[in-house]
């Protein structure tokens, strides 16, 4: 058996040598970068698979981020937060905000070659507003405000039941062909890129749409490669398999060679928080929720897990939403363990309690945040346990069925309205997965929706933000910094105030 022993020793030796080699500083031999055959394509790494390819049904921010390039609405957002006409060529608001008149742009083509007709636009808006004859619920609750839709020639007239200042932002909803039922598998839109293929859990391929009405995309082909593993993304960049990855951590970034990559920094435009299920014990007690807010040190989380990158938040709003954002709420609950203990004692938990934090395991920043929170909560006597779940499970059980006690995620807005971020805490909202239930908030929300004056509406939204903070609906953490690793030579990355990645402006410059 001496041979066996020898073999084991040899294997051990090789292992050591291998690891020692990995540990060598400086990286004298940079990993071979694959020679690019064409400057017309790019491969982008993303951390999660897409949920639904049908833009009206997709809920995941990561899906909308990608499909932003495939779909367009009557209007579309720009990188500076404005809305510009897209499938419509002109928009006018009449009757004091009650009537919106859109003129369709001539000759806008769908990716399947057909021209966008009035019936397609009517179908798309009605589908989202729940006005199709199938009697379905509105996919976008905000569109329940539509009283009437008329399409004549190339003029679309939408009449609202009451004036709504944010209505136009909702008209970014994707225009889809009316007589097409393959959206979920082979989506067709009007955007600068057309969908080519998708391999579940592996990749999504987009190609430039040559009949695009607007400024054509610079690249011919974009592949989104799904790598649900943070070190996999880094290795993908190092090996040359990936050219660009968004939403990286500082730890990931610091492993990249400066000669091959540069980093562009924006903010993710999301509200990362420890979202609490307000309907379950002990989080149905406002004192417990407030205690959590005092117990958790958000700057500590940012320093510990994000190397100081990130903007601390105190409510469901982030700075790029300008006038809606109330900075004074950020430090409403300073880190104060004594105060937290006091509140817990009042609520009947003098010795703390046990809780679970469900996190999507593919998303390392949330897992890291959870680990820091578990440590921070120990000081207050709260024992938190992390439950890592697959992304699909998270979507269906946590987001879909509210089967959780607390969870960490980042909530985004797919249009530039405060409503999109705040509506979900209204009792009636279908996506109120935190089960926040407060008549006062519902009332404020109704007022905000009915407001006819922008300044008044903004004021009410800010009140709603304050309400969420004061009632500690959730433990707000931060708007995460968006560190994007970009291969040198790739130019044109544009940051939006929304959670999207516009690939139409990317190009290679050598």
């Amino acid at each position: 058996m001496k041979k066996k022993i020898l073999a084991v020793i040899l294997v051990l030796g090789m292992l050591m040598a291998l690891l020692a080699a990995c540990g060598r500083k400086g990286g004298e031999t940079p990993p071979a970068v694959k020679e690019r055959t064409t400057a017309n394509e790019i491969t982008i790494g993303i951390a999660q698979d897409l949920d639904s390819l049908d833009p009206h049904l997709a809920v995941a921010a990561g899906t909308k981020e990608v499909m932003f390039n495939v779909f367009e609405g009557l209007v579309k957002p720009t990188s500076d937060g404005n809305l510009v006409p897209a499938v419509a060529s002109n928009v006018s608001v009449e009757d004091g905000g009650l009537t919106y008149v859109f003129t369709l742009r001539q000759g806008v083509k769908f990716h399947n070659g057909k021209t966008v007709e009035m019936q397609d636009v009517l179908y798309s808006v009605r589908r989202c507003a729940g006005l199709l004859e199938d009697g379905a619920e509105p996919l976008v609750p905000a569109l329940a405000v539509i009283a009437d839709i008329q399409g004549e020639g190339d003029t679309l007239t939408i009449t609202l039941s009451e004036p709504n200042l944010e209505f136009l932002a909702y008209m970014t909803l994707a225009i889809l062909p009316a007589d097409y039922d393959q959206q979920a598998t082979a989506p067709v839109g009007t955007g600068p890129f057309k969908f080519v293929s998708r391999a579940a859990q592996d990749n999504v391929v987009l190609e430039r749409f040559d009949d695009y009405w607007g400024t054509p995309a610079k690249l011919q082909k974009v592949t989104f490669k799904i790598i649900e593993d943070e070190s996999g993304l880094v290795r993908g960049l190092q090996s040359g398999a990936l050219d660009l990855v968004s939403h990286m951590t500082y730890t990931q970034i610091s492993q990249l060679d400066k000669n091959d990559f540069h980093v562009e920094e924006g903010s993710m435009n999301l509200v990362q928080a420890l979202y609490l299920n307000n309907s379950v014990k002990p989080f149905d007690d406002v004192r417990v929720r407030q205690a959590l807010c005092y117990a958790i040190d958000k700057q500590g989380i940012i320093d510990m897990a994000f190397d100081g990158y990130g903007i601390p938040l105190g409510t469901s709003m982030f700075p790029s939403f300008g006038k809606y954002y109330d900075d004074s709420l950020t430090d409403y609950y300073p880190h104060d363990v004594a105060k937290a203990k006091e509140l817990l004692a009042q609520a009947g938990y003098p010795n703390g309690f046990e809780m679970t934090i469900t996190v999507p395991s593919n998303y390392q920043p949330h897992v890291d945040t959870a680990q820091v929170i578990v440590e921070q909560l120990k000081e207050t006597g709260i024992t938190a346990t992390i439950i890592p779940v697959e992304w699909d499970t998270w979507l269906s059980d946590v987001y879909g069925k509210s089967e959780f006690q607390s969870t960490i995620t980042g909530l985004t807005s797919d249009n530039m309205t405060a409503r999109k971020l705040l509506e979900r805490f209204n009792t009636q909202a279908g996506n109120n997965f935190t089960k926040y239930n407060n008549p006062k908030y519902d009332e404020l929300f109704a007022q905000a929706v009915a407001a006819t004056d922008d300044a008044a509406q903004t004021a009410i939204y800010r009140q709603m933000e304050r309400h969420l903070t004061e009632n500690a609906a959730n433990v707000y953490i931060q708007d995460m910094a968006d560190l994007v690793a970009v291969r040198n030579g790739v130019k044109g990355l544009t940051f939006y105030p929304l959670y999207v990645l516009d690939v139409s402006t990317l190009y290679w410059d050598k």
Partner: protein, 271 residues
């Protein structure tokens, strides 16, 4: 009975395993640092006297985490082997001793289980029994480990079935239970013990693989496999993390492997 001589394999194996076990045991009660305590100012420190194995990206002491982690891994491995050995021996005893239809049925089931790659089978069990936590990992791995024990012990029991002293015992009116437990079981120890050591090693590696895949121990808790998973994401920034954790796993498996080898060798020398 002749005096059994402790051979070199056994000795070295016992020393290595003993040292690791002792450290793990101490680690269960006392670690130099809190294994989960974070420190923003001490991230990615290379090994030093204060932090023998360095620190990770949260500034946690890797040595303390490895101590705690090996405790978890050892507990999982022991429990797994216990399930596998007890149930497997039971199955082996019944099939080997009685033979017949029961033997055929159980051994074919055994073959069916063996046909699956073990990690895949364990994943399947976990997806059926529910949440991914260490208890379910033990259950899953335990089930996966039954067939190998059943096979080994069945052969031993079948070989003993017709031995003269068993026939004598039967003629003296001993019950089947008594024969199996008192007369046969002790005599299967010479095949069972090496099987246990091999099984233990496989269990350590299986736990490491499963935690590496993200199934099993939940963060921030540690097991050796989970630590390796963490380490691989910072291979370039903290190579000592993977190196130290990997070495501990390798040493553990090596030491227990030597014990198994030594036991078999000793057995051959006696026989």
């Amino acid at each position: 009975m002749r005096k059994r001589k402790i051979n070199g394999y056994l000795l070295v194996g016992l020393i290595i395993t003993g040292a690791l076990l002792l450290m793990t045991l101490i680690g269960a009660f006392h670690t130099p640092w809190d294994p989960n305590a974070m420190s923003a100012t001490e991230k990615f420190q290379a090994p030093s006297l204060a932090h023998l194995f360095g620190t990770d990206r949260f500034g946690r002491d890797i040595f303390s985490r490895v101590l705690k982690g090996s405790g978890t891994t050892l507990a999982i491995a022991l429990a797994t082997v216990a399930i596998g050995a007890v149930v497997g021996t039971l199955v082996g005893a019944v099939t080997g001793f009685f033979g017949g239809v029961v033997d055929d049925a159980l051994m074919r089931l055994n073959d069916a289980l063996t046909a699956f790659p073990s990690i895949l089978l364990a994943l399947l069990v976990i997806s059926i029994v529910g949440p991914e936590n260490k208890y379910n990992v033990v259950l899953a791995l335990g089930i996966v480990f039954i067939p190998s024990f059943a096979r080994v012990t069945r052969t031993a029991f079948a070989g003993l079935r017709d031995a003269n002293y068993i026939t004598s015992a039967r003629l003296m009116g001993a019950s089947n239970g008594r024969i199996l437990l008192i007369h046969m079981l002790p005599n299967t120890a010479r095949v069972l013990l090496p099987a246990v050591t091999i099984g233990f090693n496989n269990a350590v590696l299986a736990e490491a693989s499963m935690s590496f895949l993200g199934i099993g121990v939940t963060p921030p808790d540690a097991s050796l496999g989970y630590l390796l998973k963490e380490a691989q994401s910072m291979l370039a920034l903290a190579p000592w993390y993977a190196l130290c954790t990997g070495t501990v796993i390798a040493l553990l498996v090596f030491g227990v492997g030597l014990i198994g080898e030594g036991l078999q060798k000793m057995d051959r020398e006696v026989a």
